[in-house]
Symmetry: C2
């Protein structure tokens, strides 16, 4: 099929032009350059998406899905000559089902929109990857995580069902408005986190929960990172169920508070001696229970070596969490050359951070970080202009995480950006099995080639 014939076919399917715009071929990844696709379609229905995939499979033309373009691994960057399927017109919250506690959404719905809609019913979708303009479709493709994962889990744990278009042209429905099933292979969980390489999600059933009214944020400065990371398993083990358990190193804290012009009321003497911070957010069904829990966590943090523990006023707390969310942009503005998000067992954090320091020093590279400490998910900003050296540093950081029982990415995904490292470090038997699974979904190999595998 000629390019013009394919364009005509795609227009026939979606009823719109297929001319790409300047923003259709990139995401927020620092290391993968954007690329304009040959065609972009903006379907309005699942049936259109399925028909586009069928046409692409027949033509052998690569297809890349696009949500809000906030991904960090280049998975939204299309192949040369490829089609981008942009979900901007499939952006409806189809249902908030208050009896079953689920939302049914189209993939183009943003986290912000979903939060507003669930709030009207006293419910919440508790996954909080930070970037509220992100789309649910993108969140599902990368299995997005974020700060509240330590209590509530990640995207995977909240996707109960999907409607998805297969590259072979069928539309399937998986799972449903229920949390348990033992009826065949779990296609839902296989598609979640597959970075647009297996199927395109056209609808998702998301688990909601009652919105908890009362919330408090405790900020605890510690002498150093080892003290913070050693405290983490104890806070999780306390049964106090923190919603957020973030560590922020001194340098990152200085940067994000400076950027956000944030006054946290920490005395200068404390701030100067604190090399690392732990942020603990607690919630409670009543103010009284929350107050008790805040008291208990402050006491515990003090026993675990915190210099002090500050309960932040609501305004500062919100600003700190927002600033922490924006840490990626702060690092980017500060000239970071790459940002990674390795995951390790949370008790291995102190050892991992020791290895990070050693790797950084060995290659004269500057590495700072913050992270979802409760989950062992460490975000590191890597400052190293030389591409080859940076690649070596990344390889060693990923290898260190894997040696400690971890994985390359906790929530950003592999995408184009980390594919080479993934293929080099992962067990070949698993890579081969994943290739066979990919083949089972996508015999023509059109869905996001070059991403992941």
């Amino acid at each position: 099929m000629t390019d013009a014939a394919l364009a005509a076919r795609l227009t026939e399917i979606t009823g719109g032009p297929t001319t790409p715009g300047p923003d259709d071929g990139h995401d927020e990844c620092l290391t993968v350059a954007g690329r304009e696709p040959a065609h972009v379609v903006r379907p309005e229905t699942a049936e259109q998406v399925a028909a586009v995939l069928k046409a692409a499979s027949e033509a052998g033309t690569p297809v890349t899905a696009r949500g809000s373009g906030t991904g960090l691994s280049g998975a939204a960057v299309p192949s040369p000559g490829g089609i981008v399927v942009s979900f901007e017109r499939m952006n409806a919250v189809l249902e908030i089902d208050t009896d079953n506690h689920v939302a049914v959404v189209q993939p183009g719905v943003t986290l912000q929109e979903l939060d507003a809609r669930t709030a009207e019913h006293g419910l919440v979708y508790p996954v909080y990857p930070g970037e509220l303009s992100a789309s649910l479709g993108g969140n599902i493709a990368t299995n997005a995580g974020g700060m509240r994962a330590v209590k509530h889990g990640v995207t995977r744990h909240h996707v109960l069902g999907l409607q998805a278009a297969l590259p072979t042209g069928e539309l399937i429905r998986t799972g449903g408005k229920f949390a348990k099933a033992s009826t065949g292979y779990d296609l839902t969980q296989l598609i979640v986190g597959s970075e647009g390489t297996l199927a395109l999600v056209t609808e998702a059933v998301l688990k909601l929960q009652p919105r908890v009214a009362h919330q408090a944020t405790v900020l605890a400065p510690f002498a150093g990172l080892p003290e913070v990371t050693r405290a983490v398993p104890r806070v999780v083990g306390s049964g106090l169920q923190p919603q957020v358990l973030e560590y922020i190193d001194g340098m990152t804290m200085a940067a994000i508070t400076h950027t956000a012009d944030l006054q946290l009321g920490i005395p200068d003497a404390v701030r100067e001696s604190a090399q690392a911070y732990l942020v603990v957010v607690l919630d409670g069904r009543t103010q009284e229970r929350l107050d008790e829990d805040v008291e208990a966590v402050a006491q515990l943090l003090s026993e675990l070596g915190a210099v002090d523990a500050y309960v932040l006023p609501a305004g500062s707390a919100r600003k700190l969490i927002e600033a922490r969310e924006r840490a990626f942009y702060t690092a980017k503005a500060a000239g970071a050359d790459d940002i990674i998000d390795t995951v390790i067992p949370r008790a291995a954090l102190p050892e991992f951070m020791t290895r990070v320091t050693a790797i950084a020093q060995a290659h004269q590279t500057f590495v700072i970080g913050c992270g979802h400490a409760g989950d062992g998910n460490v975000h590191l900003a890597v400052f190293q202009k030389d591409t080859a050296t940076r690649s070596t540093v990344l390889h060693e950081l990923f290898a260190a995480a894997m040696a400690l029982g971890g994985a390359i990415s906790g929530e950003h995904g592999i995408g184009h950006a980390k594919r080479e490292h993934f293929l080099a470090l992962e067990d070949p038997a698993k890579v081969e099995l994943m290739r066979r699974l990919k083949q089972a979904f996508d015999p023509a190999g059109v869905l996001n080639p070059g991403v992941l595998l």
Copy 2:
């Protein structure tokens, strides 16, 4: 390869005889007859399991995994001439990791053993499928659920990682001691619930949590089942987070209390007018909080139409829950011809039960039930001796569940028992996709043929 040559090869691998015993070829399924395998191996290491699979693939001989044999779908019944891999010697709790809150277990470990071992550390594996002699390997194969799923989720939500032997002979490790990753397809979740058809699990990393000390059980009689099922979404929506939310119909309650010789202290007048019961188990970090929550739930149940709400003494509560667990055996003893466990959105329970009654009446079949109401997982005991009529009844019950957005099985699995219904009712595009996934794992087609697909 001759049968004798295969036996010799299997003995060489596992160091033991391969002569089957009388208990090696059945499970607790009421409708699938046991069958003695040609060979049984009792491996001691993951490497032996992988070598057995490799030999079986080369010989083209079917392989069926066996844990404690407590399954309810016939998935442990081997193929004619097949090999049973019994995990009775791989029954070690390898690690209770208190910092990361995980247990690492071999597949032959029972729920009872794991509970005892985690209790020593103040931790708990909260999945509670009821039959405590069941093995974790079997639980993983069927994605076992149980009564606490409404709060804690099912097996799937607690399996963080696996070591598994592939039919192609490799041993792989998936996931790890962390709750989040975005590093390739989620092989862990694909293997969980695959009923021994994709890979054999040789080790599992299970998520634990702090054991909560305080617990209370509230029993609420209602006039009828519609009243109970309408109350369920409201109790879940209250934010009180019940750990257990079971409905028991009047007939089942009479049977299980009679069998267990259980005195619940319910006045005769109430018992005679109550056609259905709701059992609510709450837990709390402190006795004070628990007492408050019990008060709140009793108040709520009363508003929702409960005749009364009884807080059961600890002894009776334990016995009731145990008796509920044993409901399968009670139904079996009462002559039930089949027991199924459809799942539907919980708000669809009233409508589903109406349809169940209509189907039962239309086919002059007796159907009673109880269920995990919070999850919409309904266990129905079907009394109908005629095989053809019973098959029609089952087909109609499953179709009714699917029409309401549900699935055939919530936690028992498809196995041999429900395969025919699964293949008849499921979307052919999904069945074909599952066949291709099966082929990707098991090109020789040796793992549990005739189960599921």
